[in-house]
Amino acid sequence: MKTYIKILGILLSIGLIGAFVASCDDDVSVENKNDVSLDTFFITLSQIEGAANGCYAQLQSGGLYQRYGYIFPDAMSDEMVAGGDPNFAPFYRFEFTAQSGPIAQYWTSCYNGIGACNFVLDNEGLMRSNIATSDFTKADVDDVIGQALFLRGVYYYLLVKRFGDVPLKIEFSEAELDAPRSSTVEVYNRIIQDFEKATGLLFDKGATEEGRATKGAAYGMLGKVLLHRNEYDKAQTALAKVNGYSLLPIEEYEDNFNESGEFNDESMFEVTFTGEFGTETERWAQNGQGFAEQTFHSQEYTGWGNLKPSVKLDNEFEDDDPRRTVAYVKDDEKYGPNKEFTRSGGIAWLKFSQLYQQESVVENSGINVRFLRYADVVLMQAEVEYSLGNDAAAIGFLNQIRDRAKLPRYGTAEMDSRGFSVSTDEGIFKAIRHERFVELCGEQHRFDDLVRWNRDPEELAIFPDENYNNPDISQRRPRNYDSGVHRLMPIPQNEIDTNNAISSEDQNPGY
């Protein structure tokens, strides 16, 4: 027995030492199987399309159209009043600072989008050299590059409108390098260049999947930026190349703002949402990553009433304008698919809410943002013609919009009597302003329009509530708007803190 145990002991001991010797291994490297490595990418069609999809994702982030992309321009305009939520108050009251988390989110989302675009653009050569050995064609690569250029232009457009001079990052390989603020002119030049290039690479609407950028969208955005840069001839040319789109009949007008009418003939570029999401973590991540295809627009505006149509906007609508009851609903008015519900709880946006089909809103909305629609193009064309001195042409474009709304045309006695005579330049400009105000209300155009028309000091000086035009001036509530400061938001403090090429002295004035 004892000997037996002893032998067993010896064997066990040898085994023990043997196991040690056999397992002595000095290699510790591990593989990352959660992500894709750069070495094996851009070699299949699904990969290059995936890379293009990645460029869009930031448009859905909390910083952009899941939240702040619409909140900033809307709250700062005069077409909305803020409700009870203190988080909206700083923007409505122009009391934001460089520490603002939402501003940092907006900024970061734009640059993350730019980073994704630059990643695609930096690898154009690789994609093109892989054409021969892969399942994609030159046209596929063109389309991917075109989308990345278009979206980079969009992100820089969103940046330059809010911040003015911004760091211009166009190489992914230089992502890590601190970049100083480039002048607004340089940024716009890059945007124009990107949109121009994109027009030559993208597919037409109908030739590509719904949701992707198209040639028409690129021309539309190119025309918009050129108009904003006062390059009217070029803008005229670009906008003229937008074809294949039409204004929906007024009966279908609400399809521009609901889920069932997405990608209609008037729609030129949309930020796509489906209302679906994955895990709760993903739903609230708000950084563009994960399965989070919902926007809170409907809940924020219509559900909680955090931003509501202003009295000023309501007054701007002509009494017989059918677009008014599509845009918003007031107490005791009917709404719903068959007008079977009666509104109580105060004025609320219908645009981009589910009230067109049900009694109350849902938190996770799938209604797409209509980033660019043809009505905007028509109104831009009117403005371009007006700016070039072609009054008749300008009135012609305006009347396309009037005709669709089945409203009296400009230049008629009826319109003259409503105070919209177009016999003078100022009259035409007033008509353009009026038409953009009501046609595009709630679509994030108004604040930027006021700024480029230099009308912001006047229009934003008073809160647009029921007292905005009170004859008793003391009843009007002054708004803390200073056009020398608030046309631009502050560069986020964390960018200044971390970017060696930007110091506190480079901050926008007043912050």
């Binding site: 145990i5 002893k6 066990l12 001991s13 023990l16 030492i17 040690f20 002595c24 000095d26 510790v28 990352n32 199987k33 959660n34 992500d35 894709v36 750069l38 990418f41 995936g50 990645g54 869009y56 930031q58 009870g84 939520d85 988080n87 009391e95 603002s100 940092a104 900024w107 970061t108 989302s109 640059y111 993350n112 730019i114 990643f119 992914f172 992502a175 890590e176 601190d178 970049a179 999947e209 719904e210 949701g211 992707r212 949402f273 895990t279 993903e282 950084n287 563009g288 399965f291 989070a292 295809e293 009433g305 709880g345 509530r477 803390n480 400061v485 803190d497 971390t498 970017n499 060696n500």
Partner: protein, 1019 residues
């Protein structure tokens, strides 16, 4: 077998000693026999060992010989032999045996100040976790409990030395562990805290934050012993904030309502008083705090164990169960632990054994909704709302109230959060004696855990604005398992006066963390607790680690000793070229009192020691899907709907970071131990100085880098950018009087450490940690060169402007975008430019204590024993976020009665700024929120009574050995000036559950006053 061995032993001894007399007897301690105690005759090789019943026989003794009785962990006794036949000896436990420890896996460790907490201290009263057991018991160890039952306890050894995870390394019976909630404190034999240079350096990169060695109870040869203990008690917390009652709040609303539409007022009128000017609360005055606090929250602890064995096989089996309710309603922690340790002597050269600890716990934390901590809702809810409305539904604010507080009682009701965690900590080992003094030991360990987190957020209908008809279910599963394979070749030998000890160690850790997140929603039924159709994401983090260690010590004549160690660590968390780092240590000690020239009747012990050691760190231990984050990676989860279907989108999520390397730390320790009057009075002092370099920090790259990450700041990247120094001292003073019927002991310790950030090279001149949003958008803990770690940074609050003119007088910079008015906070214009800007921010508080201290008094008389433990923290600042809710006035919430003295009219002189809707100027991070959180607390008073042995033996025919009854009060008295609930601020946990900030009071559950009574039985 047993008899044979004893015979062999006896023969052996007889063979050596043929001359002289023979003495026999019994060695015990506190009425317990000590098997394996050594008896020797001084100056000779003659000796004996006690058997399993503590009995011994020593031959060859002559009168005048000095017989030495010794046993590890006990004070050695010497007796001058005077011809007795029988000598029974009772050894006393050595409270000051601080300078020598055998680390079972690695070898012998000398010249190091080690704080030991032993079983009897741990079993004195039920501790819910090991961190709490350590609180106040070890110098240099600061313990901060998480508040709510089951939450993680933060243990900091010798001050914070890293910006990352500051948790010490826990080693349970040689197995590396993170979660100690699976171990029953009463089944622990001893806890040793390694903190100085040399002892932590042998753990290399794993020892930077100190090492806590936990040894669970092992079987002891002899009669089988059964232990049974039960304790039960109640917890209460009776402090409340002084909030506005209904009358006061309604009046407040009326006053706010008059501001509607005006500067500072809300945009819209306050509906509840505007629409109904005679509103008076309908006689309802809800005390939301009383609704939320639970009184007499029960706590029950049961443990049972069996211990015994023979000389060949020893075993210890234990079970415990803890059930603790929190003082916040519907919070609870349950824990079950099982422990089996076995050692088998197969032959005289081979020993094998195992340790196994299995734990299961279930935690219900306070529920959070909308990112708000529970107390935020409790403080903000209107007192005129009932908990439930007359129609039976939970009440809630409606939109017109402009109060967005949620009904926290409703939240507790409609949310069911449960975290369950199973943990297995096991090892098997074999130990082979190769030659005389040379042994090879191989241990294979497994540490595996599974964590199941379920959040069931049921649909609910409330009488307010937040009703929801969707049930949202979220589940997270984390599987974490690691194998640790440790092989040690040890040589240990004594040649006359020379003692040599050396070890070579190879150790490999393979670890894999697998995370799966799933969630989904349904509108069908709140009863469905599982996901039928949902979304799921998973990721896996593999980690590998290989180490080689050499450890050598030499001692001469119990007078001089030196030790040297070197360790090579290789980590998968670093880029290939930086994977390897070496960590060395050296220490020396001089036992002055053993010198011949040292003659003193007063000083019984004097030892001087010094050590130098290097440690490091390769990670911040965050659970993160970025494996190999030093390599650029692209991720496919940038989904976007295209052509009617959801398509994956690929974009970069990280950049190449080839510079990522090791954090290194150079530690020095100098100290001495002094013993007076036969070591009755002991005094230990240690000074330490630790220099850290290349501290790894997740540096936020500029947002314009364009890599997705944090939603506000974009991506971050680990860089070795920090340089910091920690220095401090520890003093322990102890006194024992164990003679006579009245025995008493007292000890006290005080430790101080100061962390100074020397440099932050790289991108940033500051780093910000810990975001508590709401209510603060900015992170709250800051790190900057030349300042203490994690300090608070903001404006210096000087009061409130009485008038617009007073404000305009100080702040006259017309360039500023907005200027404060009368009633706004007066911040110090540090740079005097006439405007309050970021440049006016200064350091406004330091959450690192100047020193922590504790003292302990113990006394016993006959069967009675009494123990008191005080612990205190001095010179520490806290950021009290409750002040925001009590007097912040950024929204129309309920507030503290402080707002009754807020600024309302020009000329008001007060310290509470005006109501200012939606604007955070007045609530900017400022000294307004900083308070001194020093405290001294009577943590523990215990009174016990052990039944006299004679009485005990009368029960059950003498089967019972010991019966002790005790009563205890915890946290009975706290002395502090802090205005919040509890000056012991719970650590600030980040999204992944790791500690990311300190000193921020976010209303974690305060420590309750607990009364417990218990019964301990041994048979």
């Amino acid at each position: 077998m047993k008899l044979k061995l004893a015979l062999h032993l006896g023969l052996l001894l007889i063979g050596f000693q043929v001359f002289g007399q023979s003495v026999s007897g019994n060695v015990s301690s506190n009425d317990e026999e000590l098997p394996g105690a050594t008896i020797s005759i001084k100056g000779t090789a003659n000796g004996a060992v006690t058997d399993f019943d503590g009995k011994y026989t020593l031959n060859g003794v002559t009168e005048g010989d000095i017989i030495v009785y010794s046993y590890v962990g006990y004070i050695t006794q010497e007796i001058i032999y005077a011809g007795q036949k029988n000598i029974d000896i009772s050894l006393e436990e050595d409270e000051s045996n601080l300078d020598e420890v055998v680390i079972v896996n690695y070898g012998k460790q000398i010249n190091t100040p080690i704080s030991v907490v032993k079983a009897d201290e741990l079993s004195e009263f039920p501790n819910t976790d090991i961190g709490q057991a350590l609180q106040g018991r070890a110098a240099g160890v600061q313990v901060t409990n998480g508040g709510s039952p089951g939450s993680q306890t933060q243990v900091t050894i010798r001050g914070l030395a890293t910006f990352n995870n500051s948790n010490p390394l826990y080693v349970v019976d040689g197995v590396f562990a993170d979660d100690l909630n699976s171990i029953d404190p009463s089944n622990i034999e001893k806890i040793e805290v390694l903190k100085d240079a040399a002892s932590t350096a042998i753990y290399g990169s794993r020892g930077a934050n100190g090492v806590i060695l936990i040894t669970t109870k092992k079987g002891k040869p002899g009669e089988t012993k059964f232990n049974f203990e039960i304790s039960t008690g109640f917890q209460n917390f009776n402090d409340r904030y002084d909030l506005l009652n209904t009358d006061q709040y309604v009046q407040y609303l009326r006053e706010i309502n008059t501001l509607a539409g005006r500067n500072g007022g809300p945009d819209d009128p306050v509906g509840v008083v505007n629409d109904n000017p005679s509103f008076d609360g309908n006689g309802i005055d809800t005390d939301w705090q009383d609704e939320f606090f639970k009184s007499n929250a029960p706590i029950t602890n049961i443990s049972a164990g069996v211990n015994g064995g023979t000389d060949k096989v020893k075993y210890n089996v234990a079970f415990s169960h803890l059930n603790q309710d929190g003082i916040y309603t519907e919070t609870n922690f349950k824990r079950y632990t099982f422990n089996v340790n076995t050692d088998v002597k197969v032959t005289d050269f081979l020993e094998i054994g195992e340790t196994l600890g299995v734990g299961w716990n279930e935690t219900i934390f306070p529920e959070r909704e909308g990112g708000r901590d529970p107390l935020f809702n409790i403080l903000g809810s209107a007192p005129y709302l009932p908990v439930r409305s007359a129609n039976g539904l939970f009440s809630g604010h409606d939109e017109e109230d402009i109060n967005d507080s949620r009904n926290q009682i409703r939240i507790q009701n409609n949310r069911d959060n449960l975290r369950r965690r199973g943990n297995l900590l096991g090892s098997i080992y074999g130990k082979v004696k190769l030659f005389d003094g040379l042994t090879f030991r191989s241990q294979y360990s497994l540490n595996a855990s599974i964590e199941l987190t379920d959040n069931i957020d049921r649909a609910f209908e409330e009488d307010g604005r937040f009703s929801r008809n969707t049930n949202i279910l979220t589940k997270r599963r984390v599987n974490d398992y690691r194998n640790i394979f440790t092989n040690t070749l040890n040589y240990s030998k004594t040649f006359n006066k020379h003692e040599v000890n050396g070890s070579l160690v190879y150790e490999r850790i393979d670890r894999k963390i697998e995370v799966s997140d799933a969630s989904g929603s349904n509108d069908v039924s709140p009863e469905i607790r599982e996901l039928q159709l949902g979304a799921n994401t998973t990721f896996t983090v593999p980690i590998e680690f290989v180490s080689y260690l050499g450890l050598f010590s030499y001692e001469y004549d119990n007078r001089y000793s030196v030790q040297f160690s070197t360790r090579r660590d290789k980590s998968s968390r670093l880029p290939k070229e930086n994977q390897v780092s070496w960590f060395n240590s050296f220490s020396a000690g001089w036992n002055v009192s053993n010198e011949d020239f040292f003659e003193s009747n007063v000083i019984s012990n004097l030892k001087i020691r010094a050590s130098y050691g290097e440690t490091g760190n390769d990670t911040d231990n965050r659970l993160d899907p970025l494996v190999n984050d030093f390599n650029a990676a692209i991720n496919g989860n940038f989904f976007y709907p295209v052509g009617g279907s959801l398509e994956p989108g690929f974009a970069p999520v990280s950049l190449n970071n080839p510079r990522k390397g090791w954090e290194t730390q150079v530690k020095q320790n100098y100290g001495f131990d002094l013993g007076f009057l036969d070591d009755r009075l002991t005094f230990n002092f240690d000074y330490f100085n630790n220099d850290s370099e290349g501290l790894l920090v997740p540096v936020f790259l500029t947002s314009s880098t364009g890599i997705a990450g944090n939603l506000s700041t974009g991506t971050d990247q680990f860089r070795n950018v920090g340089v910091a120094n920690v220095q401090g001292y520890e003093v322990t003073l102890g006194y024992n009087d164990n003679e006579g019927d009245f025995k008493w002991s007292a000890w006290a310790n005080i430790s101080s450490s100061e962390t100074d950030v020397k440099k932050l090279s790289g991108l940033n001149d500051q780093l910000l940690f810990a975001q508590l949003n709401p209510p603060f958008e900015e992170r709250l803990n800051r790190v900057a060169a030349g300042e203490s770690l994690f300090h608070f940074y903001g404006f210096d609050f000087e009061g409130v402007y009485a008038t617009d003119e007073e404000a305009a007088l100080q702040l006259n910079n017309t360039e500023a975008a907005q200027l404060p008015k009368g009633g706004d906070a007066r911040f110090r214009d540090v740079n005097g430019d006439g405007a309050i800007t970021d440049e006016d921010r200064v350091v406004i508080g330091d959450p690192n204590p100047d020193f922590v201290y504790s003292f302990n008094l113990k006394g016993s008389y006959k069967g009675f024993d009494l123990g008191l433990l005080f612990n205190g923290v001095e010179g520490v600042d806290a950021l009290n976020s409750n002040i925001f809710f009590l007097e912040g006035q950024r929204n129309v919430l309920n507030h503290g009665t402080e707002v009754l003295r807020r600024w309302q009219n020009p000329g008001d002189v007060t310290d509470v700024p005006r109501f200012r809707f939606g604007d955070d100027y007045n609530t900017s991070i400022s000294s307004r929120f900083i308070e001194d959180a020093s405290f001294l607390r009577l943590k523990n008073v215990t009174l016990g009574y052990t039944l006299d042995k004679k009485i005990t033996e009368k029960f059950l025919k003498g089967a019972l050995k010991k019966i002790r009854l005790y009563m205890q009060a915890q946290n009975l008295v706290t002395f502090t000036d802090y205005s919040g609930f509890d000056p012991e601020i719970a650590p600030f946990y980040g999204d992944t559950g790791t500690v990311v900030g300190i000193g921020i009071d976010r209303s974690a559950a305060p420590r309750p006053i607990t009364f417990i009574s218990g019964l301990q039985i041994q048979f």
